[in-house]
């Protein structure tokens, strides 16, 4: 019942928001829905209800973790949105970068789509049917596209178009992955088939045809990887994140990317259960290292604040897939990291929104002297910088370190070195940008000069405090959930046997290099 309510409440509220006329009530509805959603999610930590709808909707540790991220971030963004919408009430706005006038999307569309976005992300975290998961992920694209086009001008339109087209094509390939997987689960006589429900697939993993499973994994990785922003499929991401309103950027980066990550994890889980971890893990690590490299290059020479944060999301998605690809403690680190990254990145995007409201510009060299103009935001900005680059005592330090340790323990030295070098480069690149912005004199060009309000500061302060706490102490329930995910991504008997017997390991690694004639493309 709770599971259905989690999806239906925001859906209905979204429909209602479109029809509502009074601004006051619409904003109240947004906050109320976010609160109800968060309360329902919190209740799942105490008592997990059984699956509903033929086991299509269920809650497991992996889903619960991501659902909590979505719900928490949505609440923070909703509170911030109230402050944001108040600032944006004027009928006409001036674009400070190019000097033209533009209007905003009607607020009803914005709030309605925001709530539908929440509903579709919730559906992604709760679906245990891979077809339904696909429907949810495509739904997130469609619900969030109008959000990116909130400021109606040509740059945001360009970002929206790229977002819809690239993500829809990517997700169409993931649909192909669904169909290929369904071929893989058909028995040779074509009669017995395994439904695409996660736990049924895992139970019958031994009966899945390996060659078709590999093909399906590739389709899913490319398809959902596009949405997750893994390089080189990330091209839509910096545009969409930089042009969307800041509360939406926070949700895109912190919640949406993780939903796509969840899609990849479900299929990886299946590969692990079918004894194909040796095929899927190296691919994950490859995409992760590529994402880190691309992010490092583009952060070093970045001139736009929000694009820098967007590339940092590419980086952290890379860190997460590397963690999962390494397996073992790496998975634990990756799960913890997804929480830390979401909290920190959302706080940074919301702070960037406050900076934008004061300076009116996103170019790094036009923002300076924050310590005098926006004292609280300057503190948040520097704290957020330390948190996002994985400095102690923030949570990301702990999770990034766990992943590094997993790489070293697994004797993956090349991965470990590349990982460290890229993180160091990104630290330098970001330090250069963040510190320059916080200090220095007032900029020559004058912006709108909107002061930071307590309401606009509340969410980033709370989010950053949470990640600070996570760096000092990981609560037991969260640790248990992450451990649970880790054990669900562990190869059952085969990996243990391979770890004990050297000859078994050679057999396993041999099977990955065996040219797979049937699937060559």
């Amino acid at each position: 019942m709770i599971l259905l309510a989690l999806i239906l409440v925001p859906t209905l509220a979204g429909g209602l928001a479109f029809a509502m006329r009074a601004k006051m009530w619409r904003r109240t509805l947004l906050i109320a829905t976010a609160l109800v959603h968060a309360a329902l999610t919190a209740s799942l930590w105490i008592d997990r209800p059984g699956p509903v709808l033929n086991q299509w909707l269920a809650v497991d540790s992996l889903g619960l973790l991501f659902l909590s991220i979505v719900s928490g971030l949505f609440l923070a963004s909703a509170v911030y949105s109230i402050a944001y919408l108040r600032e944006e009430e004027a009928a006409r706005h001036i674009d400070r970068e190019e000097g033209f006038l533009f209007s905003n999307e009607p607020e009803a569309v914005f709030v309605g789509c925001l709530l539908l976005f929440l509903a579709s992300m919730t559906m992604v975290t709760l679906s245990h049917h891979l077809g339904l998961l696909w429907v949810g992920i495509e739904g997130t694209t469609l619900a969030s596209a109008p959000l990116i086009y909130f400021h109606r001008h040509h740059r945001s339109l360009e970002a929206t178009w790229k977002y819809i087209l690239i993500c829809s094509v990517g997700i169409a390939l993931a649909l192909m992955g669904n169909f290929v997987l369904s071929v893989a689960t058909t028995s040779p006589d074509g009669r017995h088939e395994i439904p695409l429900i996660v736990h049924r697939l895992l139970e019958n993993a031994g009966r899945i045809r390996v060659d078709w499973l590999r093909a399906a994994f590739l389709f899913f990785l490319v398809g959902y990887g596009t949405k997750m922003g893994l390089a080189p499929l990330h091209t839509w991401l910096p545009d969409a994140h930089s042009e969307a309103p800041s509360p939406v950027s926070a949700l895109l980066s912190g919640a949406l990317l993780n939903c796509a990550f969840l899609g990849i994890l479900r299929v990886h889980q299946l590969c692990v259960a079918a004894g194909e971890a040796a095929f899927s893990s190296p691919l994950l690590i490859l995409f992760g290292v590529l994402s880190l490299t691309v992010a490092a290059v583009f952060i070093m020479r970045q001139t736009d604040i929000k694009r820098m944060l967007a590339y940092s999301s590419v980086e952290h998605m890379g860190v997460q897939v590397i963690g999962v690809g390494l397996g073992g403690a790496g998975v634990f680190g990756a799960m913890l990291h997804s929480v830390n990254h979401s909290l920190t990145k959302a706080a940074l995007f919301l702070t960037a929104g406050n900076i934008l409201a004061y300076f009116g510009r996103k170019r790094v060299d036009e923002v300076s002297g924050m310590n005098r103009a926006l004292p609280t935001s300057a503190v948040l900005w520097i704290a957020g910088f330390l948190a996002i680059t994985g400095s102690p005592p923030f949570g990301a330090f702990l999770s990034e370190f766990t992943i590094l340790k997993a790489a070293l323990d697994g004797e993956r030295f090349v991965v470990a070195v590349l990982y460290l070098v890229m993180l160091a480069l990104i630290f330098v690149g970001m330090a250069n940008i963040f510190l320059r912005m916080a200090q220095g004199g007032r900029p020559k060009t004058k912006g709108p000069g909107a002061r930071e309000t307590p309401l606009a500061l509340l969410s980033p302060v709370l989010l950053l405090s949470c990640t600070l706490v996570l760096g000092l102490y990981v609560p037991r329930p969260l640790e248990n959930v992450c451990r649970d995910v880790q054990s669900s991504l562990e190869t059952p008997a085969r990996a243990r046997a391979a770890a004990e017997k050297p000859e078994a390991r050679t057999v396993l690694s041999h099977s990955t290099v065996r040219p797979n004639r049937t699937l060559k493309k």
Binding site: G131, K162, I164, A172, F179, G190, R517, T518
Partner: protein, 214 residues
Amino acid sequence: MTSPSDIILVLVILINLLLLGTGRLRSCIRAVAVQGAAIGLLPLLVSSAGFSPRLTLVAVVSVALKGFVFPWLLFRSMRSANVRHEVDPVIGYTASILAGVVLTGASFWMASRLQLPIVPVSDLVLPVALSTILCGLLLIVSRRQALSQVVGYLVLENGIYIFGTALAHEEPLLVEMGILLDVFVAVLVMGVAVFHISREFDHIDVDHLARLKD
């Protein structure tokens, strides 16, 4: 070779080539509508169990969507954007047709090397699905007009749908309807975006959407 499903599959290939070879948006939209409607009928023809209410419902909904609703939406945004023709595609029409023929040939070669766990209804299913997917991707990357890219997306979706209906085991009704709903909303949102692009730039040439870069 002359079963109804084979005729549909051959028709699909011909429409792929037609789409690659023309720049008139009106013809493109009509062609992709015919292709979509033909593919919508496919589940009825390939099912071994015959007509069930479920299959009929899926077929009716997908024919209605792909054959009538999508072209209506696309024609509407074509009129609002006031464009008729693709301008200066990245790859010329003749070259596109040649590329389409090569891709189709490659699909047949690839399909002959894949080992299917089940015997499909027709030998044409797998190669036609693959070539339609590839032609759809080619259309998306080689055309400059936003509407032509939407047509390319629909062709890609059609190719995946052929693969799904003919080879994958049946998805539950709810999922099938969810997929169709998503594609419908996608076309709707893209149509609205096309309208805004035309209003903002006076044309829908996506080359002008190139300000955001590093």
